[in-house]
Symmetry: C2
Subunit: 815 residues, 2 copies
């Protein structure tokens, strides 16, 4: 039975990849338009590949270096006598994760750079055809990401079960298998960080640079073929919005499933006659998230069938919504049966009891949170709604009030998402403990293929419009692509809401997994050093955003200089007589993005390692909480402010009414709105979306190092302890007077005895009832020796000082 | 001995107030200039008073209402049998706190509106004279605030000791006295919130409104007498920067001392022959912060003697720095002797042991943190330094890049302050536990009088310049006031760094006090509901900022409409033939600020109450941590971004070089910098500084309600418990099998017995050793019954389910 499920998972991934291959072939077969269009599309495809290659060159160095480090750390079998359940194979998992993530990005970008020009060509005939081509392109991306993730994770899991000879769920071999599997997630998430940050810098440097000189200084329209930066701008859409987004969700998808598996591994399934009552040898909580993810691919494929329109007047948004909701609802329904079929009726995780039905409720919570986050994001960023209208009104009094309005909208827009998220955390936990939080995230991510299809369709349509403009095609073509592009802007915004929600839940699931692996059972912000960790953690999204924004600013300035130079030095550009040197601009964006992604990337990767090894797991826990909370807030703030500014500007294209007067493009309020949009660009496409990966990556790095720091700090305690005098060591077991030796009962001796032995010793030595009670209290319910502090703070410690430093006054004061 | 110190405190406050009265009289005696100047100053004074009166009218309703609530809650002597140590007198303390805070604001504003015109007049003779008048005005403010705070706190403390017949430090009477004293702090902080937010909205609505129409549309210079909003703008400087800042620091000052006292009350001082070894009946840790504050007033007075310059070319900044550093160093030196004289050699707080010298080290940490925060803030906001220069360079490419640059500088500027703060928390805790954190804050705040004198001097000089401009005095007068104003801008920025650092440390001290009073001993963010609280808490500074910024935007638009109307409808304004209706603009700002301060104020006051009573103290603790962390970050970000934008704009007045070209006022880059400055105005003067009070007020509200929710949630447990079946109730006392009734020992009965009685019962019933051990483990070291969970998480709970919901798995898994 277990094998069926085990092999079903990668199989479902393969199904997704096969469907993807067919869809990809279909896109390639479509008409790519006339020679001019093909030439322009060729520039874009070439630019995109140039970026990918440059990025891969740099990242391969990083991957080799990190893999070597992982191989070394994985080969450490024990630190100071305490066993570590890992293997050098983690480095292989890491490399595979990195390669899969890069491949997912490549597949998406490859199809997107084909689909763009084909969409333009299709738009010459009908809107329906154009939607079909662009959405199929998006579907290829979605299925590629989801298929690779499920195939990779499911396949590696089978391989690792074999390699490490896993028989029992609650065994050390299983721990090793899962620790090694985190390498896959780490590889995926690392590449995602650089793809997202690098891609984000690329796209906005090109966009801002192109706009500043082209639109503002030279007065030529957007996507004008005379603008040297226009190709780089279109490449950027593919690099940032397609490959970056794909790598981001690939990472979230993998990390969520993995975190659920880590927690699932801790769930104890009752046995009846030696056989686990789930009929899956106790593997059911581990398999569940993978199976749901696998089936989610199928439902996403089903969902795509609903995305179709008939006439020119059809509502594209509704078609996409129908597809999305179909796959979400199907996932929900099937989860109900799956949960009841796979899971036993009752489970316990870290003392929290829950039922199979409650796991289903937690999945529903995840689906609802995802949907609500998308809806709220749409409200705050959509044209015609009050938030965007308020920015439009404030554009009437100038640039500054437009900016103030956008910042205020962005900050306000954090309220409901945070309440939704807080409610989601509390209710999914209420239903099924920490497993509930993780499975809620997994449920939400199940339809990632569909989500990504909808997301990736936007930039393809945007590119198609760009090619139409550059090829000077008839206006109805641009009209059709504009229609698709407008929908794409909304889906981009809602996709970001989905991405940040998934990142938040993923981070929390990883956080919970980290706590378990690190061997701590509380992160107490009442302790000064943990609180300091929280402060430092919360600051990281600020510096990360600052670096990302500043990078865009610097790269855009380089771009401006280059465009100005070309206008100045190449005669005839303006009269369409000479071709601009597009590749120079592509090169500037490529170089800048690779250069500028280093520092933020390093901060995300190195901070948890430094903090974890110096200050221990609990302070690192505080740091992670700070990063997550502040990252989610900064992400929502920046995404929504940027989205609202963008649509406020777009509203002027059709004309807006402010205080009874109509304003159009080129009016003063419109200029103010362009300022807002330019400020919003790096917010919504560079730093805002990077927050997702920042919080996930820092959590996953922490999870990977957790076994080492858990052991490391316990070991440190041991050393401290030995250095102390014997009286101090036994102080823990004495009461008030600090002189255990003085009583006739050597309570300290109990640490080497079972509960029964200790009780016997007490009796034989004639201890008083009080003294014996004291001894007995050193054992937990299972009769295991845990020491006096254990009951206060979950940590074993043998002197007051040690207890103070590990557990805080709460514990120490009880001595 | 104790009485000497007790009476010394209010006496030092009185000394401060007497010196203040002399300085105030001196300012009044100075020449107020010609009739025209006096008329303009009269408008400003009248406008300022009009605002204060309007504000007081609204706040008096709030105060009466809140006092009634407090009187009711204070009169509750017990909730369900558990004693509450409070009294209806807390409402009196609250009213006194509110009145003192309002008075402090009034004193400052009164002298500032006199000193401004006298500074203008003094500037006709010499820079030294002008500095003397303006700085003396600031000194009056500083001494007023510090004097009232020390006198109020010290005086009330003596009164409450008498009223409640306090004899012992660790007594219930003492708890009552201190709980009642928190009312004083709550009153002060509540008024401060409205003063800061209302004042902040007022000043920026007037400023932005005046600039948008005056400078941008009508093309008349700043502070031009023809601009109807110019008086409101100058009133705003007094309302926001003087009264608001004063109330803010008054609140911090009081709250810090109080938090240290609350923690000091918990310190156990050893007795020798029945007499506390500190010679102060164990009061020394409580008295220390008050005595330091009192002596800080004296050293601030000494410090003012150093603030003097001789010639026209003297460096004003250096003179202020000399004064500031003198008082800081004097405080440090005297603290050394004071600590060693007053405190016993060794102390213990919540299990953390520390020495008197370590308390001194903690004070030094506080002084260093305050100084570093000021220095860092200056770096990020000062003219000529790299951060401001980077914004200037980015102004060359337009409005948008200027904004991006400023936002990026603001975010970057959080890094060092957060690291300093985190280091400060860790090291002050390391030295002297939580008392160390609190006393560090108290040490930092000791020289508040001096800090405020330097702060308040800025707006006075600014006003003086305004009056010089409006009265069309000769250019050398304006030059002298501009010199002072420029220094004032720097001191305003550094003052904000000091204020946010003090607010952060104060909030942490209050946080620690809250934890103690609420009876919890951990705030574990690993628990889902606490983490949810952290998320919601971190969101509050965002919505608070959004509301404050949006309020400024709205009020500024009203102002713009009014100014436009006057220019249109009053003929001859532009030709100096008709006087604008200044009072109309004053009224708009007044009304808007009063209206708009309500919602943010309500959020700050009500959120902790709702969360505390519904979700209990630990979730509220999570909320407070979230508010503090995110509030500090948002405060630093907004203050520094605003300050940097402001000085980037100011740099254009003398001309700046960008890429080899010189740019001056009215150039395109200058216009971009004006946009940044306008965006930065509400950042740095409304929402940024409000963060200080937000985090402090929410902490102090929590501290005030702490006894009620501590009891309240325990009581709720009791209720839940009763509703449960008896088997469940006693499950906690049984082991594994959940059938306590089945054993012959009714462990549950122990809850009504002393430890001895229970032990006897066990013996008489023939309980097994295990059963008796179980019973004995329900008592703490003092022999008090605490229940089984108490030892795990500090909370009493009587069933597994209840334990789960209150204490998390850490506890529940032990059942």
């Amino acid at each position: 039975m277990i094998n069926q499920f085990l092999y079903l998972v990668p199989l479902l991934g393969v199904v997704g990849l096969i469907v993807m291959a067919f869809k990809s072939a279909w896109v390639s077969k479509q008409d790519a338009g006339d020679e001019n269009m093909q030439e322009l599309a060729g520039y874009i495809a070439k630019g995109a590949m140039a970026f990918l290659k440059a990025e891969w060159r740099v990242l391969s160095i990083f991957v080799v270096f990190a893999a070597a480090l992982l191989a070394y750390s994985g080969s450490v079998s024990s630190v100071n006598g305490i066993e570590i359940h890992s293997s050098w194979i983690i480095s292989i998992a890491f490399i595979i994760g990195a390669v899969f993530s890069a491949t997912a990005g490549y597949i998406g970008m490859n199809v997107a750079t084909k689909a763009n020009v084909r969409t333009t060509q299709a738009a010459r005939t009908s809107l329906a055809k154009a939607l079909k081509v662009s959405f199929t392109g998006g579907t290829v991306m979605g299925l590629g990401v989801a298929g690779l993730a499920v195939f990779g994770l499911g396949g590696l899991f089978i391989v690792f079960l074999k390699i490490f000879n896993v028989v029992e769920v609650n065994s050390n071999e299983m721990k090793t298998a899962i620790e090694v599997l985190t390498g896959f997630s780490l590889g995926a998430e690392s590449i995602a960080l650089f793809a997202r940050v690098g891609g984000g810098i690329y796209t906005k440097a090109a966009d801002v640079g192109a706009d500043l000189v082209g639109k503002v200084e030279a007065g030529i329209p957007e996507d004008d073929v005379r603008n040297p930066a226009t190709i780089a701008d279109n490449v950027g859409d593919n690099v940032g919005d397609v490959a970056g987004m794909g790598a981001d969700l690939f990472g979230s998808y993998v990390a969520t499933i993995l975190a659920t598996m880590v927690l699932g591994q801790e769930i104890i399934i009752e046995k009846s006659n030696g056989i686990s009552i789930d009929g899956l040898n106790g593997f059911s909580p581990i398999l569940l998230p993978m199976v749901i993810a696998g089936l989610g691919i199928i439902f996403s494929i089903v969902g795509t069938w609903f995305v179709r329109i008939s006439g020119e007047k059809s509502n594209v948004q509704n078609a996409l919504n129908l597809g999305n909701w179909s796959s979400i609802i199907l996932t929900g329904i099937v989860s109900f049966f799956l949960v009841n079929y796979m899971l036993p009726e009752n489970m316990v995780l870290r003392g929290y009891e829950f039922t199979a039905m409650q796991v289903f409720y937690a999945i529903v919570v995840g689906l609802v949170v995802g949907a609500l986050m998308s809806i709220v994001t749409e409200y705050y960023t959509a044209m015609g709604k009050e938030p965007v209208n308020s920015i439009i009104r404030q554009s009437a009094t100038g640039h500054a009030t437009n900016i103030i309005g956008g910042l205020s909208v962005g900050m306000k827009s954090t309220v409901i998402p945070i309440l939704v998220l807080a409610g989601g955390i509390m209710s999914s936990y209420y239903f099924a403990g920490l497993y509930g939080v993780a499975i809620a995230a997994a449920g939400m991510m199940a339809t990632t293929a569909m989500q990504l299809a909808i997301d990736a369709f936007g930039p393809i349509a945007d590119n198609a419009g760009g090619i139409a403009e550059m090829s000077q095609l008839p206006p109805e073509v641009r009209e059709r692509t504009d229609n698709l592009d407008a929908v794409g802007n909304t889906t981009a915004a809602t996709g970001k809401g989905f991405a940040i929600a998934s990142a938040a839940l993923t981070a929390l699931a990883l956080f919970a997994a980290f706590v378990g692996v690190a061997g701590i059972d509380a992160i107490d912000i009442y302790k000064a050093n943990v609180l300091a960790g929280l402060f430092v953690g919360a600051m990281i999204p600020f510096i990360f955003s600052a670096l990302a924004i500043a990078a865009v600013g610097r790269a855009a300035m380089d771009m401006v200089q280059e465009v100005r130079r070309q206008f100045r030095e190449i005669p005839g550009i303006m009269e369409y007589k000479a071709k601009p040197e597009y590749e120079k601009c592509v090169e500037i964006s490529t170089k800048a993005s690779i250069r500028e992604m280093m520092l933020p990337g390093a901060i995300a990767l190195i901070t948890p390692i430094i903090v974890g090894f110096i200050f221990g797991p609990e302070v690192l826990g505080g740091l992670l909480a700070g990063v997550t909370v502040s990252g989610v807030l900064m992400g929502i703030f920046q995404n929504n402010a940027g989205g609202a500014w963008d649509n406020a500007k777009k509203s002027f294209e059709k004309g807006v009414e402010i205080n009874g007067e109509m304003y159009y493009k080129k009016s003063e309020p419109h200029k103010a709105s362009v300022t807002g949009d330019t400020v919003g660009d790096p917010f919504k496409d560079t730093s805002g979306p990077s927050m997702n990966i920042l919080i996930k990556l820092m959590s996953i790095v922490s999870l990977v190092i957790a076994p080492y720091i858990a052991v490391g700090s316990q070991d440190k305690m041991g050393d401290d302890c030995c250095a102390k005098e014997k009286t101090e060591v036994s102080a823990c077991c004495s009461e008030g007077d600090h002189h255990a030796e003085a009583t006739k009962c050597d309570l300290n001796a109990c640490s080497k005895m079972t509960k029964e032995e200790c009780a016997m010793m007490c009796d034989s030595m004639g201890c008083s009832a009080d003294e014996k009670a004291k001894c007995m209290s050193l054992y937990n319910d299972k009769g295991e020796y845990v020491g006096a502090c254990m009951s206060s703070c979950g940590k074993k410690c043998t002197s007051k000082e040690e207890c103070m430093s590990n557990c805080g006054e709460a514990c120490a004061s009880k001595h």
